[in-house]
């Protein structure tokens, strides 16, 4: 309980800081949101025309996926670049706790955009998008997004300048969401999907054809990525402290 109260303080601080930043740079936020909405809608149209209806739901949360996966690493890089990292490191919270809270703030701030995309997709593309698996997808997006984000944050601690690698990862994610059709799943495809990041979202994107096996596979996929994230982050965090690279830019 004491821990939850402590984390609530941190979450409030991060929300307040994000809102203060939004106040300072409002056009940046509005511009980013608009461009994301337009690009994603265009991709959804294309995917729908190709007949990959199962991928539409996953694509609706794609901006959220990018934001969540990018937040821990980008906020870490920003802190290192402007020099606040040492202050954050020497706080009463761990770096992981701070990054986790920042991801939650990103999640909260990206919810309105996701619902706008959902609304437009339902109106313009597919009115049959089911809200139940969609809310489940949001939950899986949050958990998987933070998991992948923490791995990327670990990479920033060790390798610092990783922009090109991250661009490649984001492209791979887009490729995954556009071209791996969740419309029909063979056993082979399910196994692959369990292993890849955000596979749970592709699986639940099946919508009406959800079975217990699909749910189990989605939970398995998420568990694998939570475990991977925890392990890899810890290894990279300790390595960066040992090698003296933590906080270097």
């Amino acid at each position: 309980m004491v821990y939850l109260i402590k984390m609530k303080f941190l979450l409030v601080a991060e929300i307040r800081k994000s809102l203060q930043f939004l106040k300072s740079y409002p056009l940046d936020f509005i511009g980013n949101s608009f461009s994301f909405i337009l690009v994603i809608l265009a991709i959804i149209f294309g995917v729908y025309k190709l007949g990959y209806k199962g991928n539409v739901v996953g694509l609706i949360v794609f901006p959220m996926i990018l934001s969540l996966s990018g937040t821990p690493s980008s906020s870490l890089r920003e802190d290192i670049a402007i020099g606040t990292f040492e202050q954050v490191f020497n706080s009463s919270y761990t770096i992981a706790e701070v990054l986790l809270c920042r991801s939650l703030v990103t999640f909260i701030l990206s919810l309105p955009m996701t619902f706008i995309i959902l609304l437009l997709a339902k109106t313009l593309v597919d009115s049959s998008i089911n809200l139940f698996p969609f809310s489940l997808i949001i939950l899986f997006t949050l958990i998987n997004g933070i998991s992948v984000g923490m791995v990327l944050a670990g990479l920033v601690m060790v390798y610092r300048k990783v922009d090109s690698l991250f661009n490649l990862i984001y492209l791979a994610l887009l490729f995954e969401f556009v071209f791996i059709s969740a419309h029909s799943l063979s056993l082979y495809k399910v196994i692959i999907t369990i292993l890849i990041p955000f596979g749970s979202i592709l699986l639940i994107g099946l919508g009406k054809n959800l079975s217990n096996m699909i749910y189990l596979a989605a939970v398995l996929n998420t568990s694998i990525w939570i475990f991977l994230s925890y392990t890899l982050y810890k290894i990279m965090y300790n390595y960066s402290r040992k090698s003296g690279k933590l906080g270097w830019y």
Partner: protein
Amino acid sequence: MADSIVSVNNLSKSFDHGRVTVFQDLSIEIPKNKVVGLIGPNGSGKTTFIKLISGMILPDDGEIFVDGHNILKSFSVIKKMIAVVSDSNRALYWNLSGYENIQYFAILKGLYNNYNKSEGERVIEQLISELNMENFIFNKVNTYSKGMRQKLILLMALLNSPKLLLLDEPLNGLDFENALIIKDIIINLAQKGVSIIISSHDKYFLEEICDLKYAIKDKKIVFAPRDIFVSKKAMAYVCLINPMVLEQFQEYHYEIVDYQKNIYAIEFGINDYNFFNLIERNLKNKFLEILSIIS
């Protein structure tokens, strides 16, 4: 170890896969409630030592204890009792106001875990008042001078009432007046019983403010030879009084000339911190005493 705020046993640290060794088998006890200076040229390992104590860098070998707690085993406890102040050009969110920065870091430093909201705010207000920051605290940090930023960073370091304050080059880039203000704050903190470790390449500043001075030499930390600094200054002062004495101290010629330059600079209205040290530190009597011995 009981009287030590920092205790280091057989510490070794190297970088670049062992190619650059900074510390080798270093053992040192730093006493509590003292202002301790760590002097050394750029790249000698001062910042590395600060980062090792703050846990940002892990040692290759050896142990570090802060107030009796092992840094590897009780890191979360140690984090609550130390504060680090480094480069004031960084370490702040520039597009937030000073107060917004304080609010954010107050939560991060756990101020509200120890106090309720109104008590926490009272602590902040008190610190703002003690550091005379009322006039600019609500302005954006990007409008602050370097001295204002350094004060703000010091204030934020004090939010968790640290037992140990680590200052890495706290006077870097500060002008004469701001250096004095920061110096007074440090002295004030020391009087309140905060243990302070200052790393700096400014030996005059350290000499003025520190109870103990250490230097990094041969991958170890050793006591800095205080007397040499004093006598060089004393000789510089002596030489100013009587340039004939200069001839007797040829081996210190360059240092003496350097001090003389500082002293002459003041005649042309240049505010020079080193010169200020020379006369404001009440060393004049010491100089005169040495002068009487020499003569």
